[in-house]
């Protein structure tokens, strides 16, 4: 019927479907183009932001030194200001600090380095204290062992008891040293066993 120029319902429906399909394809293509354009704008904005940030620290510092120079009393002061400005920019360049974020990162990294170092030093100090204590125990053990042996060599209990009372303080040091050294032997990390 359509071929004879007479519109049919089926023909109308098919045309409508084709139109809808075209519209969808068209819209999708336009949306894709829009997305692409937005990506380009975002990228552009990101670059502009990066450039702004990169320039910002330099601009700010430049503002500072310009103001400082404006109130400089003498040419010597201006020369010193210029030298300081150059030093500052050289330092920032050497450290790769171009933006305020870079500056913040540099401070954070420095903080981490200092904290790490502090922890390491503290751990070593703890270990040094452990070693010092052990060395004191070793020394006390060696020094007081003959006294301990002498006490054990006394056969008469009363005499031995009197000896023990007379040397109570030293013997306490000896027992403490012996106990601590025995404990340390259990922990190889603290006191390597002697063979």
């Amino acid at each position: 019927m359509e071929a004879k120029g007479i519109e049919t319902e089926k023909g109308k429906l098919n045309r409508w479907i084709r139109n809808v399909n075209r519209s969808f394809a068209n819209l999708k293509a336009k949306l894709a183009a829009l997305l692409e354009a937005l990506d380009a704008i975002i990228e552009e904005q990101r670059k502009a932001q990066a450039k702004f940030e990169a320039e910002n620290i330099a601009t700010l510092l430049n503002t500072y030194y310009r103001r400082r120079n404006a109130g400089a009393y003498s040419s010597k002061a201006r020369t010193n200001n210029l030298q300081e400005e150059i030093d500052t920019f050289e330092y920032l360049q050497a450290k790769g600090i171009n933006t305020l974020d870079d500056l913040k990162d540099a401070v954070q990294q420095l903080c981490e380095r200092v904290t790490d170092k502090q922890t390491t030093i503290r751990d070593r100090q703890t270990r040094i204290k452990e070693i010092d204590d052990l060395l004191t125990y070793v020394e006390n053990y060696k020094r007081l062992k003959p006294l301990y042996d002498e006490m054990n060599g006394i056969r008469w209990p009363k005499k031995r008891e009197k000896f023990r009372q007379d040397h109570e303080g030293e013997l306490k040091l000896f027992y403490l040293a012996r106990r601590k050294l025995n404990e340390a032997r259990q922990e190889t990390s603290l006191f390597p066993s002697q063979h």
Partner: protein, 52 residues
């Protein structure tokens, strides 16, 4: 143990010494921070001799 103790002390001394570098860097960064803050303020400041 004595040798370990000496090594630990030497390592700590070395780290203490390098901490001076960190401190120098901190002072530089602190000064830059102060200068940036100053730049953000509106009033111009007068020149002064460099810090000793």
């Amino acid at each position: 143990m004595k040798k370990e103790r000496e090594e630990l002390i030497a390592a700590n001394k070395s780290d203490y010494a390098s901490l001076k570098n960190e401190r120098t860097e901190f002072l530089k960064l602190q000064k830059i921070k102060a200068n940036l803050e100053s730049a953000l303020r509106t009033e111009p400041e007068r020149s002064r001799e460099p810090d000793r």
